[in-house]
């Protein structure tokens, strides 16, 4: 019995010294149990002094092993902490079911599955990455894709000035910061983020970010630009993103400012607010792997956005105007001006009395959103406007948060285009998560 108790003691010692190595500790303790447990008759014959010596030897062995493992751990981490402790793992994903009116196709879609890996080199250098699989299957014939959505290093120098290098999300609009499913209302991201400010839109480059004041944050970057030859009448600038190896021939400059009115003052009724402005300028003669299309011209984007919460109400909206110089030369029905906006309101309706037990952190948000976007807002001289580019869309639905990071969604969408065409209404269901 004493041997068994000692083995339990070794197990505790191992667990304490080798956090996260319980399996190893268990295996070693079992080995000690097997090797150190003599037959009952033999144990009865052993002198107490002999047993104590053996226990002391084993304890010394455990201590030596413990010190050795600690040394190994320290040798892997420059700052002396645990090597694994430097990693941050996470991810998000969403599965949708889309049902269209009439002959519109119905589908179940594993829309996104994203893995986040971060690493802390030390207290001022961080790595962040997101790798995404879209639509559940990738082949030359399928619409699925694998992409590195983000992969950048942050060099944290001070509150006011930090440096970012790598692939990051273009800082325009709201969705670039709130693209995880629990962070936005509705099954699909707003259509505004397909036709006006594409998402996911990443840029490869370098920049600085920080806080000019406690309530005022900024980001400024220079990065690879867009391929203007891929712009068109209905999708606007969306096709111009270069997702593999963007050229730096005509680089892009971008930045944003965010002001938080309640950062330093009392906020009655739980008010939280943010007002943001962003700008983007890019030349258009860029291609993949430096194969530039020879497109002359440039793109300028100015955008404003806000988010405001008070009591149980949430509001958010974005407006953006794009000016394309050289649109006529690009062709494809490309407009010289693109304009769009949306506004969304939601109310938290889950009764406080129900927030107990398994539903203690649950919430339900009923929302309505109106989008108005026109990829043919202003046309070059002599180019005929395509009314299919001028669209509106109503979306109404509910987000039900079982826990803050797991959400079930349902919504109904009514899209219309500028030709008065009755586009199929959609019913969407989805489940999204983040961890």
């Amino acid at each position: 019995m004493r041997t068994v108790l000692n083995c339990r003691k070794y197990l505790l010692v191992f667990s304490r010294h080798f956090p996260g190595r319980e399996l190893l500790a268990t295996a070693v303790a079992l080995a000690l149990l097997v090797s150190g447990t003599p037959s009952r008759s033999f144990a009865q014959e052993q002198a107490p002094d002999s047993r104590d010596r053996k226990i002391q030897d084993l304890e010394k062995s455990v201590k030596d092993l413990s010190e050795r493992v600690d040394e190994i751990g320290k040798s892997r981490s420059p700052d002396g902490g645990s090597w694994m402790d430097k990693f941050t793992l996470g991810g998000y994903g969403e599965i949708h079911a889309n049902f269209g009116e009439g002959k519109a196709p119905d589908q179940i879609d594993i829309h996104r599955l994203v893995a986040y890996v971060g690493y802390e080199f030390n207290d001022w250098i961080r790595f962040h990455s997101e790798t995404e699989v879209e639509h559940g299957f990738v082949s030359s014939e399928s619409g699925g894709e694998i992409s590195i959505e983000q992969a950048y290093l942050d060099f944290l120098l001070s509150d006011r000035l930090n440096v970012r290098f790598g692939r990051f999300l273009t800082p325009i609009g709201i969705i670039s910061r709130k693209h995880e499913p629990p962070a936005f209302n509705g099954v699909e991201r707003p259509s505004f983020y397909r036709f006006i400010i594409p998402s996911t839109w990443f840029s490869d480059g370098i920049g600085i970010f920080g806080s000019l004041a406690p309530a005022l944050k900024y980001e400024v970057y220079v990065a690879g630009g867009l391929d203007g030859s891929k712009f068109n009448a209905v999708d606007g600038i969306r096709g111009g993103r270069i997702e593999e190896r963007p050229s730096l021939n005509d680089p892009a400059f971008m930045g944003r400012l965010d002001y938080f009115p309640f950062a330093g003052r009392p906020a009655a009724y739980g008010q939280v607010a943010r007002v943001g402005a962003s700008a983007y300028y890019s030349g258009l003669n860029n291609g993949n792997e430096g194969n530039n299309p020879g497109t002359a011209g440039n793109l300028r984007i100015f955008s404003g956005d806000f988010e405001y919460s008070i009591s149980k109400f949430d509001f958010r909206g974005v407006i953006a105007h794009e000016r394309i110089h050289g649109a006529k030369e690009i062709g494809n029905g490309t407009a010289s001006g693109i304009f769009g906006w949306y506004l969304e309101g939601g109310v938290h309706v889950f009764p406080d009395a129900w927030k107990q037990g398994k539903l203690a952190k649950s919430e339900a948000v009923v929302f309505v959103r109106y989008e108005d976007f026109d990829t043919q807002f202003r046309m070059p001289d002599g180019v005929v406007k395509d009314p299919a580019g001028d669209r509106t869309q109503w979306t109404g639905g509910v987000n039900f948060y079982l826990t803050p990071n797991l959400v079930a969604k349902a919504d109904y969408q009514v899209p219309r285009d500028g030709a008065g065409k009755h586009l199929p209404n959609l019913i969407n269901f989805g489940v999204g998560w983040q961890f």
Binding site: D123, E180, A183, G264, D372, V414, R416
Partner: protein, 116 residues
């Protein structure tokens, strides 16, 4: 074409409706869910010698950095012990510096207890 015009007009009416809802919400009774450091101090929720400046910085980080990526959860929704784990994990993802994370944790711990 008639439906198109109606849809667009209705969209603009939404602006007015949401503004009205914001006004109604503003009139609704409720207490401060994200108390300032000075409110916590005035309410006697802080221990003697608490660093008010650190708490002010921590609240500013909470309202700016955290709200930039997700909806905010009131400080009293979690215990100080729970906030410690949350801040450790999320401060890395938000690229907060060590001092910023410490200020944030200090504020959330104080507001977690003081906001109840």
């Amino acid at each position: 074409m008639k439906r198109w015009n109606g849809t667009r007009i209705a969209g603009r009416l939404l602006v007015a409706v949401l503004c009205l809802a914001a006004g109604i919400a503003g009139c609704a009774a409720g207490k401060a869910a994200i108390p300032t450091a000075d409110e916590l101090h005035a309410g006697g929720a802080l221990p003697i010698g608490a660093d008010l400046d650190a708490l002010r910085r921590g609240r500013a980080i909470f309202v700016t950095e955290c709200a930039a990526c997700h909806r905010l959860f009131p400080p009293n929704a979690y215990s100080p012990e729970q906030w410690r784990g949350i801040v450790k994990r999320m401060s890395r993802r938000a690229s907060l510096g060590g001092d910023q994370a410490a200020d944030l944790e200090q504020y959330l711990s104080a507001a977690s207890l003081g906001g109840k």
